[in-house]
């Protein structure tokens, strides 16, 4: 793979991560990360939607009338999300109950719309698919790290399996949304310190 295409996938994993650098998709990252299984399911769902919406938009990019391009992007994304939601309801019923509205809210996840508008509208299908995949994986990486920390400290378990001794009392703060804010904040700090990428004042 040429270096340029390669960096399309790897950049969003850390240096241009959609959550910790671009600050997109924070809402769902707070909501579904109390436990690993929901975070993993959400990660797969978002990566799938992002990759396929980038592909479809990119294929259509020369025929989409400019006046209605955002509405078209929305229609494509919404259809993909509903499809994913239907599949979850059929094949992962328990998890889909826990994720409830958050799968539907992928439609409004700024990452998906943002990549369609910023990348897929200007680039050929192959690069767009890689961009979608990279951003999806970048989102997933943060989600899974946050869920790992929250479930471990919050309940002493990982994916429902108790790993800390039974005497561990659990930490209620980590289970509720403010705990996710703190963990994500620390991650952003850590990542920006490591990559030396600071906001310009």
């Amino acid at each position: 793979m040429p270096a340029k295409l390669n960096s399309i996938v790897t950049d969003p994993l850390s240096e241009n991560n959609p959550i910790t650098v671009q600050m997109l998709g924070i809402c769902s990252a707070l909501a579904v990360t109390a436990q690993l299984p929901t975070a993993i399911t959400m990660s797969i769902a978002v990566t799938l939607v992002l990759t396929s919406s980038n592909l479809i938009i990119s294929v259509l990019r020369n025929v989409i009338p400019p006046k209605i391009r955002m509405i078209v992007e929305m229609v494509v994304i919404a259809s993909l999300v509903i499809t994913v939601d239907q599949f979850l309801k059929a094949f992962a019923f328990e998890i889909s109950k826990q994720l409830s509205v958050f799968v539907g809210l992928i439609i409004t996840n700024c990452i998906v719309m943002g990549r369609a508008e910023a990348f897929a509208m200007q680039n050929p299908p192959k690069a767009s698919v890689l961009d979608g995949l990279g951003n999806g994986l970048g989102y997933s990486a943060v989600l899974i790290i946050v869920a790992f920390i929250r479930e471990l400290i919050g309940a002493g378990s990982l994916a429902g399996v108790q790993v800390l001794p039974d005497s561990y009392p659990g930490n209620g703060l980590m289970v509720i949304a403010p705990g996710a804010f703190i963990v994500i904040g620390l991650l952003i700090w850590l990542q920006r310190t490591l990559t030396k990428k600071y906001e310009e004042a």
Binding site: V76, A78, Q86, F93
Partner: protein, 236 residues
């Protein structure tokens, strides 16, 4: 200019048509599996109310409830099949007519001729959403055997605690009726319940409105069933 706008409309029509066709296809293809999931979920919840120690992941029969079908037919591994089989064989579902033209459903768990438990559905508003539940009673039609709250949109960690085992176990052994006073009022306490009380359950902290909602709909639904059904049954 004219041509441009015509193209825009054409494109919009085509994309809408394509997307709706695709969605309709997906939905009708998956409908069967989804309905099956919902049916099993409902059966699991009825069973939890009838048999509080019921565990959908494990063996739903306690040792003393091992009944011929399973001793003769061998043990089924797939728990989905367990649930439906168990439900079909031991739970009797009957539609019942309640006062004021309301209709209800009564689930009876029988072992041979003996009634082991009954359960009825109850639902009502919590804070954000309708909370669904099944309330299971002992054969005296007064003591709570098990209760399950599910399919709600309450705040996770606060009102959402109502579907956690600790909250539901809390109801076991409480009573909704006695011979002297008739129907009693179950109270979801603020904080810890009085341990000696037969009508108080521990509340969920930070979820007063969900607790009040549950208290209201459990009591009123029990009264409906009591008036039109349980009083007659007890007299038999």
């Amino acid at each position: 200019m004219q041509k441009d706008e015509l193209n825009t409309i054409k494109f919009a029509a085509i994309i809408c048509l394509a997307c709706s066709m695709a969605l309709a296809g997906v939905q009708s293809a998956l409908r069967g599996i989804q309905d099956e999931n919902k049916r099993i979920d409902q059966q699991v919840n009825v069973l939890k109310a009838l048999l509080p120690d019921f565990d959908p992941e494990g063996n739903p029969l306690t040792e003393e409830e091992q009944i011929e079908l399973f001793t003769e037919g061998g043990i089924l591994k797939e728990h989905k099949e367990w649930i439906s089989l168990y439900f079909e064989n031991f739970v009797e579902t009957s539609d019942v007519q309640l006062a004021e033209g309301k209709s209800g459903t009564l689930y009876s768990l029988k072992k041979g001729e003996d009634l082991v438990a009954v359960a009825f559905p109850a639902e009502g508003k919590g804070l954000w959403s309708t909370v669904h539940s099944y309330v299971g009673l002992q054969p005296d039609l007064a003591t709570i055997r098990g209760v399950t709250f599910f399919d709600h949109g309450e705040t996770p960690g606060l009102g959402g605690e109502c579907s956690k085992p600790w909250f539901q176990k809390n109801f076991m052994g409480k009573t909704l009726w006695n011979a002297d006073e008739g129907p009693l009022t179950l109270v979801v306490a603020k904080g810890k319940a009085d341990a000696s009380s037969l009508t108080q359950v521990d509340g969920m902290s930070g979820a007063t409105i969900t607790g009040n909602g549950i208290q209201k709909f459990v009591n009123s639904t029990f009264r409906d069933y009591n008036e039109s059904l349980f009083n007659e049954k007890r007299a038999l």
